[in-house]
C-alpha cells in the first residue's frame, strides 16, 4: 500500500471515529434527508450548528485553499470524509448551494476579493446561499428567464419573480440569473449572473407550503431591488454560461465541492429492515413470491447504481457511449429512489395510510415523507424528462425535440 493510501485510510478511520463520537442525539423531529426539506427555524439552526461543528473538526472544505478556510488537500480526502459521514448516517450538511455550487463557482471564476468575502462563511454556515434560477413561467425553459437587471450607476436594479427558491427565506446571498438585455437574438445572450445579497430593500421571500405540508422553499419577489454592480459575475451577457457551469457543479459533473454529503442515503437495507416484522395474509411478507421478486429487482437496480458510479471512473469501460454514465446518473438514481420509496409504502398494509404525526405510523411516517420529498430530486435540477432529452441528444445524438 502506498503512503498516500495509508494516510487516506487513517484519515477515513479518524473521521468515522469522530462522527461516531459526535453524532447528535435524536432531536425529536424527523431529520431532513436532503437540504430541500429544511422547513423551520428549529431544523435550520440544528443543522447550522452541526455543519459548523463538522467544519471546526476539519471534515468539510478539505480541497479548498487554506487562505479561504479550507485545507488544500486532494479530492480523495473529501470523498473519504463524505463516505464516512454517509456510513455513520449523521445529519446532512446544510449549506448545499454554497458548499456545492456557488462556492466551487467562486473558487473557479471569482476574484480574490469575492473568495475572501464568501468562501469561509459558506463553510461555517454563517451565510446561507440560495439559487434564483426558476421563475413561475420559466422552469425547464430556464434560458427564457425574464427577471430583469438594469444597470443604474453603481447598481443593478432587479425586478421580477423567482420561485421554488430553496432556503429563500434563510439566505444571505442568492446566485441569481437575470436578464440584462431583453433584445438579443438568442434568448441566452441576454442573461447575466449575479452573486446577489438578499438583505437589500425590495426583496421579499414568501414561503410556499410543500406537498408534505411543511415549508422549505419560497416565491421570491424583486421589486426595484438595488444590488451593487460589483455583484455581477463575469460580464453582462455571459450569464447562461456561468449558470451552466453552476449546473455542472450541481449535478456533480465537475468536482470542487466542499462536500458531497448533502443527502442521507435510503437503501434497500433500510427497506428490508422496515419490513422485517410485516405480515401479509398472516405470513411473513418476505415469504410472498411477488414481493420477493420485486425486492430483488430493486436490489439489482440499486447495485447497478453503485457499480455504474465506479465504472464511470474507468475510461476503458465508458468508450461506447461517452458521457452516458455521467449524464444519466441523476436520472437513474432519483427515479430509482422514487419507485423504491413508493413501493415501500405499498408494503405497509393499513399502516401505509398513516402519516407523520400518527403514533402508529411505521418509523414515524419516514417512508411517506421520503416518497413525497423525493420528487424534489426528480423535478429539481432539471426534471427527469429534461434529463432524458439531454441524454437522447448528447449521448445518442438524437435530434432535438
Amino acid at each position: 500500500m502506498t503512503a498516500e493510501k495509508q494516510d487516506l485510510n487513517k484519515f477515513r478511520a479518524e473521521v468515522s471515529a469522530w462522527m461516531k463520537a459526535n453524532k447528535p442525539a435524536d432531536p425529536g423531529f424527523l431529520l431532513p434527508q436532503t437540504f430541500m426539506e429544511v422547513g423551520s427555524e428549529e431544523v435550520l439552526e440544528f443543522l447550522r450548528d452541526w455543519q459548523r461543528k463538522v467544519y471546526d473538526a476539519g471534515y468539510i472544505g478539505l480541497t479548498w485553499p487554506k487562505e479561504y478556510g479550507g485545507k488544500g488537500l486532494p479530492e480523495e480526502y473529501q470523498l473519504a470524509a463524505d463516505e464516512a459521514m454517509a456510513h455513520e448516517r449523521v445529519p446532512i450538511m446544510l449549506n448545499v448551494i454554497g458548499l456545492g455550487w456557488a462556492g466551487p463557482l467562486v473558487l473557479k471564476s471569482g476574484t480574490d476579493e469575492e473568495k475572501q468575502k464568501y468562501l469561509k462563511r459558506i463553510l461555517t454556515a454563517e451565510d446561507i446561499w440560495c439559487q434564483g434560477f426558476s421563475e413561475p413561467d420559466h422552469g425547464s425553459d430556464l434560458g427564457n428567464a425574464q427577471t430583469s437587471a438594469v444597470k443604474d450607476g453603481d447598481d443593478y436594479v432587479i425586478n421580477g419573480t423567482k420561485i421554488w427558491t430553496t432556503f429563500g427565506n434563510y439566505s444571505k446571498y442568492m446566485i441569481l440569473l437575470a436578464r440584462t438585455n431583453p433584445n438579443t437574438e438568442r434568448k441566452y445572450d441576454g442573461l447575466s449572473f449575479f452573486l446577489a445579497p438578499m438583505d437589500v430593500p425590495g426583496v421579499t421571500a414568501v414561503p410556499i407550503q410543500k406537498i408534505t405540508g411543511e415549508y422549505g422553499f419560497t416565491e421570491t419577489f424583486f421589486d426595484n431591488a438595488r444590488i451593487p454592480a460589483s455583484c455581477l459575475m463575469g460580464e453582462e451577457g455571459q450569464g447562461w454560461r456561468v449558470a451552466m457551469q453552476t449546473l455542472q457543479f450541481e449535478r456533480s459533473a465537475e468536482g470542487g465541492q466542499a462536500t458531497h454529503y448533502n443527502f442521507t442515503p435510503v437503501t434497500m437495507g433500510d427497506l428490508l429492515q422496515a419490513t422485517e416484522n410485516t405480515t401479509r395474509d398472516g405470513q411473513p411478507l418476505l415469504k410472498d413470491p411477488i414481493v420477493r421478486d420485486n425486492l430483488v429487482k430493486f436490489l439489482i437496480e440499486e447495485k447497478s447504481l453503485r457499480l455504474s458510479a465506479t465504472r464511470a471512473e474507468i475510461p476503458a469501460l465508458c468508450q461506447d457511449y461517452p458521457f452516458s454514465l455521467a449524464l444519466s446518473g441523476k436520472l437513474r438514481a432519483t427515479e430509482y429512489f422514487r419507485r423504491m420509496r413508493q413501493y415501500a409504502i405499498s408494503l405497509q398494509g393499513g399502516k401505509g395510510s398513516l402519516y407523520v404525526g400518527d403514533e402508529g405510523a411505521i418509523e414515524g411516517g419516514f417512508w411517506q415523507r421520503a416518497y413525497f420529498n423525493n420528487f424534489s430530486a426528480t423535478i429539481g435540477g432539471g426534471t427527469s424528462q429534461i434529463q432524458s432529452n439531454i441524454i437522447g441528444q448528447h449521448v445518442l445524438g438524437l435530434p432535438k425535440s
Binding site: L272, E301, L307, I314, S324, Q385, G397
Partner: protein, 378 residues
C-alpha cells in the same frame, strides 16, 4: 438484510487490450452481411473465422497456462462474449468454453491434461446439460449405469450447442443416484442420434442428442466429488456468458434503433425528435448500461475455484439484467421501425430473435431472481 453486498469493479490495461482486440476482430469478421449469409448455413459459423479465433488463442484464454491456455481467467471471457454479441458473431466459442470450464472445475488431472490443451488448440467441445425445458430442475433424467467395466448411458439432452460439429461432449447424468458428468466422443454414437432444433435465433445452432446406448469407460467420469458443484457453477458461468453476449446485442439493437430515429422522417420531422420514441430509447441505453456494470463487476470477482455466494449473486444479477435489457431493446427496435420493422430484411428481427434465445439460456430472469431471493431473504 444481513448480507454485505460486494461492489468490486476494476479493469486493468491487459483487459482493456483484450477488449479492444475483441472489438476489432468481431467488427472485422462479422459484418451484418456476414451474419445474414450464415443464417441458412449448416454449421452457422465460418470455419476461417473460427480458425483465426483459435490462432488468437481465445478458446484457451481462460484455460491455465499449465494446460496449454493463456490463463487470463474467466473475467477475460466477458469482453470477448460482449463483442461477439455486439456483432452477432457466431462460432462454437461458447460451447467450447463451457466444456473447458467443466473440465477445469470438475475433471480429473489426467482428463485436464488430455483435453484442455486440445480445446485451447481449437478442438470443438460442448456441454449437454438440459434434459427438459426446466433450467431450474435439480433432477437429471439422463442416466449412467454400470455395465461391467463400462458405463451405459440413456436419455436425451436438449439444446446442446454446436453438437453437429462437436468432437467432445460433457454430459450430465445421474449415476449411482448422484449428479455426475461424463465425457463422450462424437464417434461414440450414430449421426442419427443428433437432431437439429429449429431455433428462434437463426444465428445459433443447437441440437437434441440421444445418448441412449452409448457406452464409455469409467475413466470418462469427471471427478465424482466435484460434479455437483461443477454443474452448478457451469449453469452460472453459462448465464454470465449469455448475459455478456446479450448485452453486446442490446447495444447493437440500440444502435440500429438510433440510426433509424436519426434518418426517418414523418410529418416533416425526424422521428427521433418525438419523445415517445426518444425517451424509451434512452431507457434502453440505461438498462444496457446497468447490465454492463453488473457484467464487469462479475468479471472482476470471478475466479477459477468453486463460485462463492458473491460470484453467484453477480452472475445471476448480470443475467437477469442483461436479458431483460435485450428483450426491451429488441422489442422496441421492431416497433420503432414501423412496417419496416416487421420485415425479415430489417435487422431488428435478428435482435428480437436473439433476445428470445438469450432469455431462455441458462435460466430466464425470473428464475435467477428467485434464486437471488433465497440468497437474500431465507
Amino acid at each position: 438484510m444481513t448480507r454485505e453486498m460486494n461492489y468490486a469493479l476494476s479493469f486493468d490495461d491487459e483487459q482493456a487490450m483484450i477488449m479492444k482486440s475483441a472489438r476489432e476482430f468481431c467488427k472485422g469478421k462479422s459484418s451484418i452481411q456476414d451474419v445474414r449469409e450464415l443464417l441458412g448455413s449448416d454449421t452457422g459459423y465460418d470455419k476461417k473465422v473460427w480458425k483465426a479465433m483459435v490462432e488468437l488463442g481465445w478458446p484457451g484464454i481462460a484455460i491455465p497456462e499449465s494446460f496449454g491456455g493463456i490463463g487470463l481467467g474467466i473475467g477475460s471471457l466477458v469482453p470477448l462474449a460482449e463483442s461477439m454479441g455486439r456483432y452477432m458473431l457466431a462460432t462454437p466459442f461458447f460451447s467450447a468454453t463451457l466444456a473447458a470450464q467443466a473440465l477445469l472445475r470438475g475433471g480429473t488431472q489426467s482428463q485436464k491434461e488430455e483435453w484442455l490443451p486440445q480445446i485451447a488448440d481449437g478442438l470443438i467441445a460442448t456441454v449437454a446439460l438440459l434434459d427438459s425445458e426446466d433450467w431450474g430442475a435439480d433432477t437429471i433424467n439422463c442416466t449412467a449405469v454400470d455395465a461391467g467395466d463400462t458405463l451405459k448411458l440413456s436419455g436425451t439432452k436438449w439444446l446442446v450447442g454446436d453438437a453437429g460439429v462437436a468432437e467432445l461432449f460433457v454430459v450430465s447424468v445421474k449415476y449411482q443416484d448422484k449428479p455426475s458428468l461424463v465425457l463422450v466422443n462424437a464417434g461414440q454414437f450414430p449421426k442419427s442420434a443428433i437432431q437439429r432444433h429449429t431455433l428462434i435465433d437463426e444465428t445459433k445452432r443447437a441440437f437434441k442428442v440421444d445418448f441412449s446406448g452409448v457406452e464409455v469407460e469409467k475413466s470418462r467420469l469427471l471427478d465424482p466429488a466435484l460434479s455437483e458443484s461443477t454443474i452448478r457453477d457451469l449453469m452460472l458461468i453459462g448465464a454470465l456468458l449469455t448475459a455478456a453476449e446479450a448485452t453486446g446485442t442490446a447495444a447493437a439493437s440500440l444502435d440500429n434503433t438510433v440510426e433509424y430515429l436519426k434518418s426517418r422522417k414523418q410529418f416533416n420531422k425526424l422521428i427521433g425528435s418525438y419523445q415517445a420514441l426518444k425517451h424509451p430509447t434512452v431507457d434502453i441505453l440505461n438498462e444496457m448500461e446497468a447490465a454492463r456494470s453488473h457484467l464487469y463487476h462479475a468479471a472482476t470477482i470471478m475466479g477459477d475455484g468453486p463460485l462463492s455466494d458473491d460470484m453467484e449473486i453477480a452472475c445471476r444479477m448480470a443475467k437477469a439484467q442483461a436479458t431483460e435489457a435485450l428483450l426491451f431493446a429488441g422489442d422496441r427496435d421492431v416497433q420503432f421501425h414501423g412496417g419496416m420493422g416487421f420485415t425479415y430484411e430489417c435487422d431488428a428481427q435478428l435482435h428480437i430473435r436473439r433476445a428470445q434465445w438469450s432469455q431462455q439460456q441458462f435460466g430466464d430472469a425470473y428464475h435467477h431472481r428467485k434464486r437471488l431471493a433465497s440468497l437474500f431473504f431465507d
